[in-house]
Amino acid sequence: MSFKIRQAFCAMAFIWLLVPFLASAQNLTGRVVDAATSNPLIGASVIWLGTSQATSTDANGHFSLKPAPAGQKAVLVSYLGYKTDTVQVEGRESITVKLKSITSIQEVTITGKQDRYSALSPTNSQVITAMDLTKSACCNLAESFETNASVEVSTSDAVSGAKQIQMLGLDGSYTLMTTDNVPALRGLATPYRLNYLSGTYIEAIDIIKGTGSVLNGYESISGQVNVRLKDPEKSDRLYVNLYGNSLAKWDANVNTSFTLTPKLSTVLMLHTDQLANRVDDNKDGFLDLPLGKHYNVFNKWKFNSGERIVAEVGLQALQETRTGGQVNYRSGTPQQEGSFYGTESETERVSGFSKTSYTFKNKPYQSLGLILSAGRHQFDSHYGPRTYNGYQNSGLANLIFQSAFGNTSHTYKTGLSYQLEDYQETLAGKELQRRERVPGAFFEYVYQNSQNLTLVGGLRADHHNLYGWVYTPRFNVKYDFNPNSIVRLAAGKGFRVANPIAENVASLISNREFIFQNNLQPEKAWNLGGSFTQYFEVGERKGAFITDYYYTTFQNQVVPDMYSSPNQVVFSNLEGRSFSKSFQAELQYELTELLDVKAAYKYFDVRSTYNGQLEQRPFIPNHRAFLNLGFATPFDKWRADLTAQWFGPRTVPMLEQQAEGNLRTRTVSPYALFNGQITRAFKRWEVYLGGENLLGYKQKNPIIAADRPFSQDFDASMVWAPIMGRVVYGGLRFTIK
């Protein structure tokens, strides 16, 4: 080709390239890409707002849309798994649209690193993935938080084996627990609730600090723990997990899923755990862990019309028996002086929920959802000579309408809810009954500008049949200084009716008298706080630094006082102040290709008023530290994890020699706990081996007057460290995808 011809050819080509622009000057062209990776999104839909004129992007993310019908100045760009966006195009012929991905579980699983702090959500939230759950001793919710710094799990007493979560230095009952975003395991289920969901049922866990959204009711005060259960559409056809430990406790789990029609799928999940071996390593004559049998089945269905209707139904049934107490105690042994002390509990629980959502035609941002749930929880138990029986029937309906004002920068959710609770408890012959009927309405407005600011304002009004109108406002602000520096602020109110006995079952394992002051009122608190997140890269390795501070102050609280008198627990309304100040700083960093590190420091200042004196809440250390090392070879063929937790000195009450009405305390030394696990993965098999409390730190003599269980002084609830020493465990997982 001579030079001239080449020139002519180039000119021709240039004109040809211009033709599309000249020929259809009003056609809107552009490209749709992923905001994070800039990869083209193929098949994203672009539609003139409020019309049915649409197109979709080609293999390179490009689109060309015919001129708008009169008056349209905005297009709606949507793509499955991404946040829908409205773009103003007035006067522009070509646009590039960056869609933000809704952090899908799949995405997290693929990268499968440490639990991540979300960069998108307006609340301070983080995710524990299914992958993270395989890093620590399986098999229930209590063990799911072991590699997470924000949620703490502690043993409530030295006999029952019950575990409780803590957030912001506050008891687990102030944390709203939801499964698939439906409130669950509330009220009388509290004492053993962490045992009711097997780790193998869980796809991921969201942890939200602060009061969160008004959509799920008025109860959350310190935060929310949402357990996402396995999705029938994405579950493995067969998943088996077997576990055994050095105490001879064993667990078996089987999940199977079926796709019945292209639109209908189901997953059936079974779990059992059993302990028949009597363990008394600390030689105090009491079982360190109760014997137990637990059977649990969960069945979830999903209907996905592919177009606009998605419906889910979940059904759960469980049965659990526990027998604890002195080693020689057998079922039916009379509970009196000179006999053997024992505790037993039998629980049966059935529950179900359904969620249906309908998305409006051509309005992907507008939908209507209905959530229904119901459950019955029934238990019979005795703690030594004291019987404690009860049941709870619950029902909940929640109708949510979601839409936008004008464009998707201004979205809102509004709806109605109705909750009924029927509580019946009998403690040592004394009956307590409560029926709650609570209709409510809520509204939440979200403003999101296209760059860096999200505002969420929510308000609930509920009418409680016992306590009248309850108003709960909640606000969240998120501001991105830049994509790597994010600040969040949160303020909100929470309200809950306490269940003093269920929330203090540990105190039943003593001979203290339970005294209820008249007219206990609901608990109300304000929670204010904020967090700052900084994502960074050092030497091409990613890291994140997260720091947060929350202040929770109670306007009323049901304060259990087991400190002023060694022979009583007195429940009374708060008179004076009660607050929690919680600070956390956490650093996550990928040290090398194979090694992730997570370190955190926490400071808690939690005080309540006892007998007119503002005192530190016993058992809560001011300082804590957390360190997690996660090692994984490429493709996770080998994984190893080591977690260390350090608890600073803490104040504990001295009951043995205490005069009435004045709290005497002593300080116990700091201690550290270590857990570790090694996993080897094959194509379908995984084998794991691990240990909890590797250094075997134990509280000496956790039971006061263990040799005289029927005397006044006996008390097993004054627990601040593990009862069990080192436990070694192992197991295997088998998957058919």
Binding site: T37, N39, L41, I42, G43, A44, S45, S56, S78, Y79, L80, G81, S104, Q106, E107, I110, T111, E233, K234, G244, S246, A248, T259, P262, P634, F635, D636, K637, I678, R680, A681, F682, K683, W685, V687, L689, V728, G730, L732, K737
Partner: protein
């Protein structure tokens, strides 16, 4: 208690010992497949999936050309087996189509003919 620990250890060791040693000569064979992969996530899925296949030494996908290059040991696996492995991950390999079920379970963005 002690026996249980021992048993667990034995289990782990036998498991890791089964990764045997291959004869030379058959090592380091290479094959290329044209796949239906469309994105970086597909790359992760395919490379991880193949890493767990017996006899695979290395697998890498070039997203732009959709070509998956697999280095393998001919003693332990074959081109047919590798093709099947790709299909079972939800992707076509040359002329062999993806297993429908596996394809269905892919994320929306990984489906070759995703239409929304």
């Amino acid at each position: 208690m002690k026996t249980l620990k021992l048993w667990m250890l034995t289990l782990v060791f036998t498991a890791s010992a089964s990764i045997g040693f291959a004869q030379d000569g058959k090592k380091g064979q290479e094959v290329k497949f044209k796949t239906s992969a469309v994105c970086g996530m597909c790359k992760a899925t395919l490379e991880k999936g193949l890493a767990y296949e017996k006899g695979v030494e290395k697998a890498s996908l070039d997203v732009n050309s959709k070509v998956l290059t697999v280095t393998f040991n001919g003693q332990k696996t074959s081109v047919e087996k590798l093709k099947k492995a790709v299909n079972e991950l939800g992707y076509d390999a040359d002329d062999a189509p993806a297993t429908p079920r596996a394809y269905e379970r892919l994320d929306e963005c990984c489906k070759k003919d995703a239409v929304h």
